[in-house]
Symmetry: D2
Amino acid sequence: MVTFLNMLKVGIIGATAYTSLELIKILLRHPEVKITYLGVRRTDRPRISDIFPTLKNLLDLRCDTIEQKEVPENIDFAFITLPPTISMQYVPLFIQRGIKIIDFSADYRFRDKSLYERWYKIQHTDSKGIETAVYGLPELFREEIRKTNLIGNPGCYTTATILALAPLLMKGLVFPEDIIVDAKSGVSGRGREPREDTHYCECNENIEAYSVGGHRHSPEIEHILSIKTNQKVSIQFVPHLVPMNRGILCTIYAKPKHEMRPASMILSDNEVNKLYKEFYGNEPFIRLKEGNEMPKTKEVIYTNFCDIATKVTESRIVVLSAIDNLIKGASGQAVQNMNVMCGFDEKMGLL
Amino acid sequence: MVTFLNMLKVGIIGATAYTSLELIKILLRHPEVKITYLGVRRTDRPRISDIFPTLKNLLDLRCDTIEQKEVPENIDFAFITLPPTISMQYVPLFIQRGIKIIDFSADYRFRDKSLYERWYKIQHTDSKGIETAVYGLPELFREEIRKTNLIGNPGCYTTATILALAPLLMKGLVFPEDIIVDAKSGVSGRGREPREDTHYCECNENIEAYSVGGHRHSPEIEHILSIKTNQKVSIQFVPHLVPMNRGILCTIYAKPKHEMRPASMILSDNEVNKLYKEFYGNEPFIRLKEGNEMPKTKEVIYTNFCDIATKVTESRIVVLSAIDNLIKGASGQAVQNMNVMCGFDEKMGLL
Amino acid sequence: MVTFLNMLKVGIIGATAYTSLELIKILLRHPEVKITYLGVRRTDRPRISDIFPTLKNLLDLRCDTIEQKEVPENIDFAFITLPPTISMQYVPLFIQRGIKIIDFSADYRFRDKSLYERWYKIQHTDSKGIETAVYGLPELFREEIRKTNLIGNPGCYTTATILALAPLLMKGLVFPEDIIVDAKSGVSGRGREPREDTHYCECNENIEAYSVGGHRHSPEIEHILSIKTNQKVSIQFVPHLVPMNRGILCTIYAKPKHEMRPASMILSDNEVNKLYKEFYGNEPFIRLKEGNEMPKTKEVIYTNFCDIATKVTESRIVVLSAIDNLIKGASGQAVQNMNVMCGFDEKMGLL
Amino acid sequence: MVTFLNMLKVGIIGATAYTSLELIKILLRHPEVKITYLGVRRTDRPRISDIFPTLKNLLDLRCDTIEQKEVPENIDFAFITLPPTISMQYVPLFIQRGIKIIDFSADYRFRDKSLYERWYKIQHTDSKGIETAVYGLPELFREEIRKTNLIGNPGCYTTATILALAPLLMKGLVFPEDIIVDAKSGVSGRGREPREDTHYCECNENIEAYSVGGHRHSPEIEHILSIKTNQKVSIQFVPHLVPMNRGILCTIYAKPKHEMRPASMILSDNEVNKLYKEFYGNEPFIRLKEGNEMPKTKEVIYTNFCDIATKVTESRIVVLSAIDNLIKGASGQAVQNMNVMCGFDEKMGLL
C-alpha cells in the first residue's frame, strides 16, 4: 500500500452534483490520489455520505463551505463542478496558488471569449484563463493537456459528437457544414435539481426533443471541430431526453464529398472502418464496432469507453457513438485528463 | 346523442392534480355528464389543455380561480381534489348550495373527528360534514352512498387493502389485530410536485420503504374496517415506492383463527376462494384470480378493476390485491360513486 | 342500448398480438360493433381473457382455430393481425365472401408487387388484392378508403413519418431526396415474442439503433410519399429502440428549397406552421404544437392522436411527430379506417 | 504491477450468466487473481467479449467448451455458475484435482441431502461434497470458509434475509416460527433466458408476486438459520418482481418475545439498533441505517454492501435489508469468499 505522503491531494469544489458522486467513486479506486477536501455552497458541513448515502463507509469526509476568495490549504489538484458563470470566480484564485484545475463547466471550453459571452449571456471575467485553458479531450488534445494547469472539461454531448466526427472531418471526407446530430441522453444529464421536467412521471414512459435548433452544446462542438480541422464546421444538433438514468447515444448523419472520387463509386463501409481504426489506433477508451454491431448505451454505462460504429448508406455516412454521460462525458474524462496532466498511467482508476 | 340540457353539470375544484387529469379523461367518456367548471388555485386562467397537453382537442376549457367563500354558478356536482385541510374550507359552502360533493382528501373519510385531528394535526372545522359524510367504497357502503350528498373518497392504499381484507374479517376467519400489509405503489402516488424523492434518477432503478410504522393510511384502514366489522382491527402497514408510473399491489398476511376448527385442519385455498366469490358475487369491478394466478398491476392500470388473489399457507392466509392508484384508487372510484349517487349505471364511463 | 341485431359483427384473425389487445379494447368501447369471432393459430381454444387477463370481465370470448381455406360464418368485417406473408393466404378467401378487411401486415401496403417482393423476399400470391387494396391513412386517402373493401393498414413508423412530411412534400418546399428520419420506438414495436432483444434487462436502461440503412419501413414510406406527391422521394431512415412500452417519436430533417425564394430569406416558423394548419385543417386526430412546444410520446400514448411540431433552423426544417405505435400506429388507425369504410363517425370509439 | 507468476489462476465454469459477467468485472479489478479459463456449454468457442460486448478491450479471452469428466489444466480456483443439478456433476472432479471451488448453484448450500432432494426433485450424486461444503456467508461462517475448499455460495434472497434476521434470532428476541419476509427483486434475478415473464413489456410498469408459499429460497433460509441459531426457524416468504435491472429489498416482520420482559415495555428502536451494531461490529460490507433512514436498492447496486434498518412498531420488529442481487447476492459475495479462502484482504477487488 502506498503511503499518503506521496499521494496527490485532490479537492472537489461543488461536491453535490451527480458528476461529483461519480468522480468520488472513481477517485476512491485511484491508487495515486487522496480526496482531502470537499467544498459545497451550503454552510451545514454535512458528511458527503449524508448527501450520497451510497458512499457510507467509503468516504465519510465532511464538506466545507466554499467562501469566495478563499482557497483550501490542503490540496494540490482541484476538480471544479460548479455551474457555468460561477466557476470563473474561483478558478483564477486556485491557479494563482499553483493548484492544477479541471473545470467541469463551460467557462473554460471556448478559445473565443465572445462566443462564450454570446451563448452564456454574461461577461467572462477571466480572460487570461479562457485564453490559456486547454480543452480536455485527450484523444484530440493529449499533448496540450500534458503541459497545462487548467482544463475546460468537455460536455457530455460534445464528447460523444466530436469523437464520432473527428476522423471524417480531419480527413476531409464529408461536407463540414451539412452535418446532423440527433442526440439522446439519460435524465441524469438534466442534473439533480427537482423540476417538473425531471419528475419521474414526466420522464418515465416518454421520449421528447428539447432546445430544437438552439442547444448550448452545438456552438461548443462547432468551435472545437473548426479549430481542430481548420474549416468552418456547422452542425444541426437536436437533443432528446430518454427514460433512463445515464448514457448518451448520438446518431450522426454526414454527407460524403462525392467529388473526391469517380461519380460512380462512393466510400465503402470497410474504407470508413479502416479510417477510424487508423485514426484511433491504440486509444485506450475508444472501441470501434464491426460489421452490423451498433453501440448500445448499456454497454458503456459505468465505464469510460466511447463505442463508435459507422455505416455508409446511399446518401450519408451514419456515425453512431455511445458514452456514459457522467463518466466519459464528465468525471471519467476528468480523471483521464488528470492522469495525463500528472503523468500517471492514463487508464489509472478507470478500468 | 343526448343534448346538454339534461346532462349533469360537474365541476372539478383543484384541477391540476394527476387524479384530476384521470378524472377528466373518464368524465369525457361519460354519456350523462358535462364538465362545466374547472377551479384552480392560481390566477392566470390557463386552459386545462395547457396544463395537460394530452387533453388538447378533448377539453380546452379555461380554469377559473377558486376564491374562498365563492361557489361556481354552473355546476350540479363537484369533485374536490384539494389537499387535506384545504378541502374542508370549501365543502360546507358547496353543500349549502345543494351541490353534491365527492371529496378526494382525507377530510371526510373519518367518522371520528378526533382521530382525524390526531393524524392530520389540525382542528377539523366542519363537524357536521365529517359526521354526515359517507365513505366512498361502493362495494361496502353502496346503500349509504346512494342516499348521501357528501362522499369522502377513499385513499389508494386503503381501497386496495380494505377490499382485500373485508371478506376474511367480516366472516371472522382471521385475527383482526395481527394483520400485516406490505404495500407497493407507483410514483404518481407521490403527487405532481417536483421534490428530491420524485426526481427520475432517485426513483428509477430503486425500490424503498417509507413511513415505516406511521403512514396516514393505516388509521384510515383500521377505522373503516373496525366500523364495518364491529371489532378492533389493527394492521402493520408498510408502504414502498416502486419505479413505475401507476399501480398499487398490496401483499397482506393474515393469521387464520385455528381455534375455529379441529386443530388438525386449516382452511383450504378452495374454501377461501369460495368465500370471496360469495362475498363479491357480481361486483362489477372486483376480479378474483384462480389457481396460482396472482394479480399484476399491469393488468389493472388504466382500469377501475381491483384484482384479488388468496393463498393459504402453513401459517397465514396471504391476500394480494392490485389496483390503479389513480383510477380505482381515486378518480375511477369517484365516478363509480357519482354513478351510484346519481342513479346512473354504476359502470358508466368506466369500461 | 343498441340491440346487437343492427351492430357490425367483427372478427379478429390473429388475436394474440399486442395490437390485437389494443384493438379489442377500442372495439369494446365502440357503440356500433360487436366482436363475434377471434381466430388464433393454436388449437386449444383459450379464452381471450386467459391470453390477456386484463380483459377478464370485459371479453371472455373463446378463440377459434383459424384453418386455411375456412372463413368464419358470423362476421361482416375482419381485422387481420397475422404476420406478413401469412395474411395474403387468408385475405382473398374473406374478400370472396364479401367480408370487408383491414390487414395489419405489409402484404397490402404496396401498390407495386415487385417492390413488396424485393423487400419481403417472397412471391406475392394475391396480385388482385395488392392492386385494389387502399393504403389506410385517412388523412391522405380518405376518399379511397370510403369506397374500398380491403385496406392495407400502415406501419407505425410510416404513419408518424408520412403525416409529418406530407405537407412539406406536397407543397414542394423541401428536396424530396434529401430527407433524414431519426425514429425512436418503444419496445412493444418489437412484438410479444420473447427474444434476447426483448429481454427486460437488455432493453431497460439502454438505447440503441438497429437496421441502420435497411429497415423495411423505409421503402413503404418512400413508396407512399412518391405516389402521393408525384415525385421520387427517398429518405434516410434510422430506427432506435427506447426503454418504454409504447410510443414513437420521429425527428425529421428536411432541406428547404432555397431557390424558391430570394437567396437572403428562408421560410419562417410561422409560414411553416400556417402551412401545416391549412393542410390538416380540421383533421380530428392531428394536433399541431405551437411556439417551442415539442411532441412528447407521453401525451399521445393510449390515444389515436398524432402530435406534430415544426422548427425552421439555419439549414433544415425539423419536423417532429409522436404517436402511440399500437393505436394511431396500428389498432386505432384500423378502427378509424373501419369508421370511414362503414360510414360511422370517424372518431367513434377513439376518444 | 504484480507479475502473473504469483497470481491466482481462476476459471469460471458457465461463463454466460449475468452473475458471470459481474464476476468477471470484479475479478478484473482484483490485484491478486488472473482469469485464465472460461468454460461454456456451447461448442463455438466465442470470445467472452462477443457474448458480453461491454467487456471488449477488458477481457477478450475465448471460452472453451466444458466437457464432462474433463478439468481444465491451467486453474487453481474455480467459480461454477452452472444451474442446480448440473453443478454436482463437475464439482467432485475439480475437488479431486485439488482445485478450490465456489459453486453458485443450490447444490452445495444444504447440510441435509434429503432437504435438497425434496426441493430440487433430483437425487444428489455428491454426498461427500454436500456434507463437507461450507455455506458461503462470511458474516456468519467466516472461520469455516477460511478452512474449506468447497463453498456453496448463498442465493440472493437468502443473503438479504439471513443477514437481516441473524442478530434477532441469535439473541432469541423474536419468535423463530412467526416470521414474514416480503421480498422484492429486480428482473436480472430471473436470469438471461428470454421468456414471456422476462419480456420487457411484461415486466415494465408492473409489479407482481410469484411462487407464493413455495419458493425454493425459503427452505434454504430456514435451514441455515435453524442450524446457526439452534432452533426451528420457519418463515413465510413471498418474492415479488420489480421493474428494475438489479437490486433486492427485503421487508421482514418479526414478532418480539414480550414474555422476555415486563408486559408494559417492549424493545426500543435504540436497543435494537445497538444490538445490530454489536452483532455486526466491523463487518466491512454491512451498513446499518440510523434514525428513520431506510435502505434503498439504488444505494447498494453495483456494490457488495448490505444495508440494514430496523424499526420497532407496536406489534412487530420490522427489519429492512437491501443488496445487489448480482454482487452481494452472488458474485461479490463469491469473491469475498475467495478472499477469505485464499487469505487475501477480504475487501480486495470489492471497493
